[in-house]
Structures are given as structure tokens and as C-alpha cells.
Symmetry: C2
């Protein structure tokens, strides 16, 4: 039985380093998150024309987590996300579908920063066929590993809602397919910059009735989406849709159409959909799925930290956690 550090001792630092944000996790020996920091220093914070890209990213990392680094010795640093893209610090490559996420830890790429070696997780890619476009994932593969159980064999669909929502088909930790929907970005554009935004009065309140109304309109005829969204204007002019509820009606319509379209390609399995995003988006997608009679499981939003720890175990950056039968 290998000697393990007590759970409270930091074992590694995990970074979820995306386009517009940097989440840092100080992780203990059993995968527990001991501390977490969230910042806006995503890879866009560094100009692609910077003379010393590696120096710039080193400085950001130093600022974000420098005080976590022990005075003597070191902690393994593992990052996932767009930091591993051509717009990041180095291209960390992709694993081709279908792929088992158990293989990710064997494919890390390593770059030298001033604060030490940074290991970077590869993304996943789906190559194109005559019928389907290529697609790529970076960062979500790590969340998936944090969400999925290796023992599970039933096909599962994981929904990762966001600006670009990912729908991922898995069998255990094996990823067989995924696709991306831009309905989050389309919602952002319509609700801030379109004719629909002129009548809307954004609020922080959630308008359940308007959202459900939109869900139903979107799901009933997803092919008519570019027509249906105009009803956010005409119902508002008509007085039946209140100015504060327009955005929730629109959000419902976009999510309703997206979910209805995705379900046409999913086997009618009894396995619950796993939904993992912000609390607000997770609630919206879960509601849309339940409307079609599908069960949903809402996942831990710290899945990225769990995934980073598992990949560190796979790659030997941290000792493998022993399985006990106690």
C-alpha cells in the first residue's frame, strides 16, 4: 500500500484555461478542491502578436497561483482548455473519435513556464465525413472525465451548455460523437443587438411562464426558428408578452428548438441526460429535456477539477488514489 499524503495536503494545481476565463484549483490527494480562484485572464488576455507569448502566460499564471506554489519543491501543474490551441501557448493536439478518456493522460504535452513545467491536456476531434462537418472540443474532454463513471456502460448523453453548447455521446468514458450548437451565441446577439432587443427590458428575474411558452413554440416547429423568433416582437407589440419577459421567451424558443432537434438523433434510451453548466443554464436545459419526458442529472459544476485530477492520476503526475472497500 503506497504511502499517500493526507487529503488536506495540496497535491497538484489544475487550470481550466479557456478563451475568456481562467479557473484555478488547488487539489488535495483525494481530488478534493482545497481552494479555487476564478479570473478573466483567458487566452484572449494575451495578444497573439506578443513578442514573448510564453513569458506573458507565465506572468498570468504567476499572478493567479504563485502563492500556491511551495517555497521548496513543486506541485504538478496541469491545464485544459484553449490554452492548448494555436491561439494559446502551444498546440496540444487532439485525440480522434471514438476515444476512451482513459487515454488522455498518456497524451499530455509539456511546456516550460517560469513557474515550472505546465502539462496540457489534448482536445478531441471528430473528422469530417461526406455527411457531417468536422468538430473539435478543448476543455470539455476534461469536464467529461470528471462527470463520467468508468464502470458505467449504458450510452449517455452529456450536455455542456454555454455560448457554444456541446452535446456529447458517451459509453462509459468512451466518447463516440459530439456536436456543437451556437444557440447561446445566437441568443446573445438577438437579445442585445437585434430588433427584438429594442422592445426588451432585461431583468435578473426568471420568467418561467414566458420561458415555457418559448420552449413550446421552439420545440413544436424547430425548422421554423428564424420565423418564430419574430413572434417575440409581435407578441410584445400585441401586449401579450411583457417587455421584461421577452428574453426568457426567446431563450426558451432557442433552447426548445435545439433540444427537439438533438433528440431526433438520440436513441430513446432510458439513461438520464447529464447536464453540466452554470446553475441557470443547467436549469433551462433540464427543463427543456424533461418536457420531452427525458430524465436529467445535474452534474457538479466543478467537474473540470475532478477531471484534471483524474488525468493527473492517469499520467502519474500524482499517485493513483487507492480503491478501498471500507
Amino acid at each position: 500500500m503506497a504511502k499517500q499524503a493526507p487529503p488536506g495536503d495540496p497535491q497538484m494545481i489544475g487550470l481550466d484555461w479557456g478563451t475568456s476565463s481562467l479557473r484555478a484549483f488547488l487539489i488535495g490527494s483525494d481530488g478534493t478542491v482545497l481552494a479555487e480562484r476564478n479570473g478573466s485572464d483567458g487566452i484572449m488576455a494575451v495578444s497573439p502578436d506578443a513578442a514573448d507569448l510564453r513569458g506573458e502566460f507565465s506572468r498570468i499564471a504567476q499572478t493567479a497561483i504563485g502563492d500556491w506554489l511551495p517555497a521548496h519543491g513543486s506541485l504538478p501543474l496541469l491545464a485544459c482548455g484553449m490554452i492548448g490551441s494555436t491561439q494559446g501557448i502551444a498546440e496540444a493536439g487532439y485525440l480522434d473519435l471514438p476515444t476512451d478518456l482513459g487515454a488522455v493522460g498518456g497524451q499530455l504535452m509539456t511546456v516550460e513556464l517560469t513557474i515550472g513545467e505546465l502539462h496540457i491536456v489534448p482536445g478531441l476531434q471528430k473528422t469530417s465525413t461526406d455527411a457531417t462537418a468536422p468538430d473539435v472540443i478543448r476543455g470539455e474532454e476534461t469536464e467529461l472525465l470528471g462527470l463520467l463513471s468508468a464502470g458505467q456502460t449504458e450510452p449517455t448523453t452529456v450536455v455542456l451548455p454555454g455560448t457554444h453548447t456541446k452535446w456529447v455521446s458517451c459509453e462509459g468514458t468512451r466518447v463516440t460523437d459530439f456536436s456543437t450548437s451556437m444557440s447561446g451565441e445566437v441568443f446573445g446577439l438577438l437579445s442585445t443587438s437585434s430588433i427584438l432587443s429594442r422592445l426588451a427590458e432585461p431583468t435578473d428575474d426568471f420568467h418561467l411562464d414566458a420561458f415555457d411558452w418559448g420552449l413550446s413554440v421552439g420545440a413544436d416547429d424547430p425548422a421554423a426558428l428564424t420565423s418564430s423568433i419574430f413572434s417575440a416582437r409581435t407578441w410584445a407589440l400585441d401586449g401579450r408578452l411583457h417587455a421584461e419577459a421577452i428574453n426568457d421567451y426567446l431563450s426558451g424558443m432557442l433552447i426548445g428548438a435545439e433540444v427537439a432537434s438533438q433528440l431526433t438523433t438520440k436513441a430513446d434510451s432510458a439513461a438520464p441526460f447529464i447536464v453540466c453548466g452554470t446553475a441557470d443554464l443547467t436549469m433551462r436545459y433540464s427543463r427543456a429535456l424533461r418536457r420531452h419526458g427525458r430524465e436529467t442529472t445535474e452534474a457538479d459544476p466543478r467537474a473540470a477539477a475532478t477531471g484534471l485530477f483524474r488525468i493527473a492520476e492517469q499520467s502519474g503526475l500524482v499517485p493513483t488514489k487507492e480503491t478501498t472497500n471500507d
Copy 2:
């Protein structure tokens, strides 16, 4: 037989006064357009908070057409479009569907400008049902009257492409239904402000192959639109879609999905679709319709002038043109 002025003599001034533009037509006794002016003084050029709305609109009209007004006597002034909305000079009302466009001339509303009486054409409105949202048209009713022949009895669909494309179902000059699609506005947002615009290099060239490719992707699965548009990015990253062709691929996809969805609700009639918009948009929609085996007729883009003349005839603002059998 009533005495008529020779065709070269101005009989009226027609204004197509929309949200962002003002088109003015000097029209002769047989409906011929003797002169045309296009300006950007749409109703948005006047602040809704202006102390003297009528004065502001009078000044714009004076600048646009003041020199067309004869020194003695006057020419009838007839306007259609958003000038007749609550955001314009006065609310000119709506005719309820179904309605015959022959009735429009009897429902004009009149306001006094410094340059004379301005007659305004009412819009059309579709009231809501449990299943469908309300919708309104302003300006298009006049174009329709310019396009449609009263003798025609076969059901026709008129497509008026633009930022908000109108699909109008008619029987002769009777309008039975219409709907609005926002795919033009969605295209504008995606091609200028989304992640897709970052890879695109806009050009004035038309990329037929990319447009047709997009048409086919959009039409094959219109319900998947918010997913399919992401392929404009992944195909571009893959190298198969060139940066200059991205926007035409995207335009094809949006129009392809819109046309496929609209056709599911249209009877499989042999009557051609009438398409009336800018030369570029008319070409794109005609191509999309022909891909589904539908015939199209491309209409005179000056239909608004013809419609304004017919409404002036209906209302007695100009003498009715005699019908000859020569």
C-alpha cells in the same frame, strides 16, 4: 372617355418611406416612373422625442421632393411604409386578413405637412390564434399591389426578401396569410459580430459553390440550424471552406433552412413564386426555390411605385387609367 394627361406629365408623387430609407417616385399618368430618388432619411432620422414631429418630417419631404412640386397647383402625395406607424408621423391603421388589396385606397389616412396633404397607406395585420402569433406588414401591401394581377385567381406566394423577409399567400389581389422570417437579420449579426465572423474575409464576389453547399446543408435539416451554422467555423478551420466564401456558405444555409421550412406549409401548386427584392437577394431566394423544383418569377423592383399609383387610382387621387382592348 375622360380626358387624361399625356404620360410624360407628372400626376402624383409616391413615397416608400421606411425605417431606414426614403424612396421617392415622380409618377406619370399611366403609372410610369418619371424620376426616382433614394435617400437614407427613413423614419429613424427623426427622434421620437422631437418637439415638432410633423415639422421634422415636413422638412425631410421638402428636401427630398420640394423641387418636384409645381409652382402653382399641387400633386397628390401618397406614402406607404413605416411612416404610417406609431414611430412615424401618424398611425395609419391596419386592414385585417383576409383582405383584398383593392380596398386599400378607401382606407387612407391624411395628415397636413407644410408642403401639402400627405396621404398614408394602411398596413395589413394578421390577428393571433391559439396556434399562431400576430404579425403586421407596412409597405409590403403596396409592393404586393404593384406585383399582383387582379385577373389572376390561382393561389400565389410572394416572397419579399430583406432584413425581415415576408412570405405572403395571395389569391389574385386577396391576401390570405403572411409570415416574417428574420434570417436576413440573423445573417447580418452572424456575419459581423459572431465567432464565425472572425475567420471570414468579406468580399463583393459571389461564391456560388459555397452558397449552394450552404443551401443544401440548411435545407437537409432546417431544424438543426443553430448547430449547422457552427460548421462555417469548423470547415474553415479544416481548410475546405475558404475565408472569402464563409459568408456565402452561411447565407445559403440560412436561406436554405428558411425556404425548406416555408415550403412545408405551402400547397404543392404549380403557380410560380414571385420574388421581389434587391437583385442579389432575389437571385439567392430564386435559386433556393428552384432547388426544390419550384418555378420563380422575378418581379420589377419598382413594384412599390406601381402599387402607389394603383392605390392613388383606387382612392381617386389620380384619374383611373382606362382599360383598352387594343
